[in-house]
Amino acid sequence: MAIKTDIQAVDDIFQEGKIVDGFLLGPEVHRGGMASLFSATKEGIDMPILLKIPRVGRDQPVESLIGFETELTILRALKSPHVPKYLGSGNMATHPYIAMERVSGHPLEDLIKEGKKFSIDEVIHIGADLAQAVQSLHAQDAIHLDIKPENILIDDKGKLTLIDFGLSHHSRYPDLLAEEMRKGIGSAPYISPEQVVGVRSDSRSDIFSIGVIMYEMLTGALPFGNPQTMGGLRKRMWAQAFPPRAIRKEIPRWLQEVVLRCLESRAADRYQSATRLRQVLRDPESVVLTERSERVEPLSFWEHLKRWIRAAGYEPSPSPRPSMTNLDAPLMIAAIDTRQSDEDLRERMQTTAKNLLNAYPESRLVCISTIAGTPTYEGKQESQTASGIVRGHLVQLMEWAKPLKLPPERISYHVLEALNAASRIVEFAKDNDASLILIGASHKMPNKVTPWRTSMTKIVEEAPCSVHIVRT
């Protein structure tokens, strides 16, 4: 291949104290197999900077160059609070580097190596944050494909950042690692079965990796070991991970269900989006327990043999576009005005919600109602206390949703306290990666028309998702 190897030794260009394209190099902070990292500063940029310099030139692996090119392409395109900001780059042929925000925090890897015993709550929390960070990539049509503890930074406040996009895929840019001869590039313990056979376009691969990490934090063990051969890597196509509850009794059934579902060998059997994974981690009651949650013993020899034979014909599931997965398992919000007395509108909203829920079997409905605030001075009666008022609204929401006859895992109810109802609804939709907001507009509201109208306009203008206005 036409990669030049006569690039000037980068060591001569990048040294502490030198200035490259305005970046004043500080000390080298890390030297790895593929790249060196330098701290740096630049006038006009008021955040700590990191310069990543690929190990190129003679005797250096070709991968480091492709990885550099891939990372440059993808990091430059990404905008996410969970990804270091891209700050510039140098010419590939003369002085290759990527400048990015130097994120504080330590790799999750450090904690694992120290032998830290994670509490169940910590695992749930990190898992949910990880799912959120991954979703922010998927929403932009990017897939990380190398999610592992080494590439996850967590700072003092618990904020999580994903780093190293050298193996990532972005469907809006050429995939330089496509059709790579070596299959299964990535870190052996964490890559998904479909990555083992060379599929690079399935966002659910990241879900599998999150499952491995949660499993590792819970049990201290790797679900499929750390194989060094192709045969060993293929094992995850048929083997079932040893049930985490058999290693650590206190793990709740629902959490075992979630982790093992992430580790399903067929991508179609896992959670279909990172948002969904985050939702179940934050709302255990919505987890449907299956046989996975009951497992206490590893599969018998015969069961494994059967699965092995099935895996001989392993076909990766078709990969949906990353940003579309959330649309197949959408979260819909019904904003319900509990003070509303328009029966026609109520019925029409219920029908609309029902139809939408029927169209997407994996969808969920969140019914919300907003209240202006609860009284500081509470009355004596239950209906006048804060909790009483909230409960009263909850009952009305449940009443509203009754005709939909939804199983509990597909519906939840929230009463939001807010002075500005519209802003709060928009914020809630953002926080939960909602795909749709359903609101009703009645013609039968002579007095309050104006404020309701402005609040609807605000939702339509500011919502991060589609807004469905139901009219009578």
């Binding site: 291949m1 036409a2 090119e69 590939m92 840019y173 050429p174 690692l177």
Partner: protein
């Protein structure tokens, strides 16, 4: 052209088929001729341009033939000479421009898959090869194993195209893009920053189609401008 100026384009390249589909062949040749003469543009010849002065009757469909006959009747001798003088291929230090493929350019082979793109890149030997001919935009890039892989670019996205691998860009056509979107295709290459951006731009395809109709050219040619098929 106005949009290209807005984007800060310093030099334009016309990748052939200047005439043969449209109703303004004379104006186009004069305009492009001026730009070429003042070194602001380069142009290469396309098969439809060649058809004006070579016998192509058995190589094109009835609509294309009818359009060529009409075009011939419009052009002056010097305009035909301009087409005759157009080069088949232009090679610069790192870049090759040609209408169809750098591999046997006179055969007007289409670049549609890895193999045809690979032949083209091998023949040109340049880092960047730009072609037209196929009406649909595509970027072929050299993978780790040397094979060229097809990528469907997203309009407006800046794609880094670094010099250590070969790239074959099919920039698409200004009319009749054949992908169901009537917007005109072009691409902007910035050699210094090694960035390539494919563009789609709205133009008045209805007026263009009306002119085609008024010129008495086949109805199908006018319709394709509007539907983008």
């Amino acid at each position: 052209m106005a949009r290209a100026k807005e984007l800060g384009v310093t030099r334009m390249v016309f990748l052939g088929d200047i005439v043969g589909y449209n109703a303004d062949p004379c104006a186009l040749i004069d305009r492009i001729g001026e730009l070429v003469a003042s070194n602001k543009a380069i142009a290469v010849i396309g098969n439809h341009d060649e058809a004006v002065f070579k016998d192509y009757r058995n190589r094109m469909n009835a609509n294309a033939n009818a359009a060529i006959e009409w075009t011939k009747s419009q052009l002056s001798a010097s305009q035909v000479q301009f087409l005759k003088d157009l080069p088949l291929i232009v090679n610069e230090e790192n870049i090759c421009f040609t209408h169809a493929s750098a591999h046997n350019p006179e055969e007007w082979n289409y670049i549609t898959d890895s193999m045809s793109a690979w032949l083209c890149a091998q023949s040109s030997g340049k880092i960047y090869t730009f072609v037209g001919h196929s009406h649909e935009q595509a970027l072929f890039y050299q993978s780790a194993v040397g094979k060229l892989i097809r990528f469907a670019p997203h309009p407006g996205d800046e794609v880094p195209v670094m010099r250590h691998r070969q790239w074959v860009s099919v920039v698409g056509s200004l009319g009749q893009p054949r992908d169901g979107n009537p917007e005109a295709c072009f691409a902007v290459f910035e050699p210094e920053s090694e960035v390539l951006t494919f563009h789609r731009i709205e133009y008045d395809q209805f007026t263009a189609a009306e002119k085609v109709r008024r010129a008495g050219l086949p109805e199908d040619l006018a319709n394709r401008l509007i539907t983008g098929n």
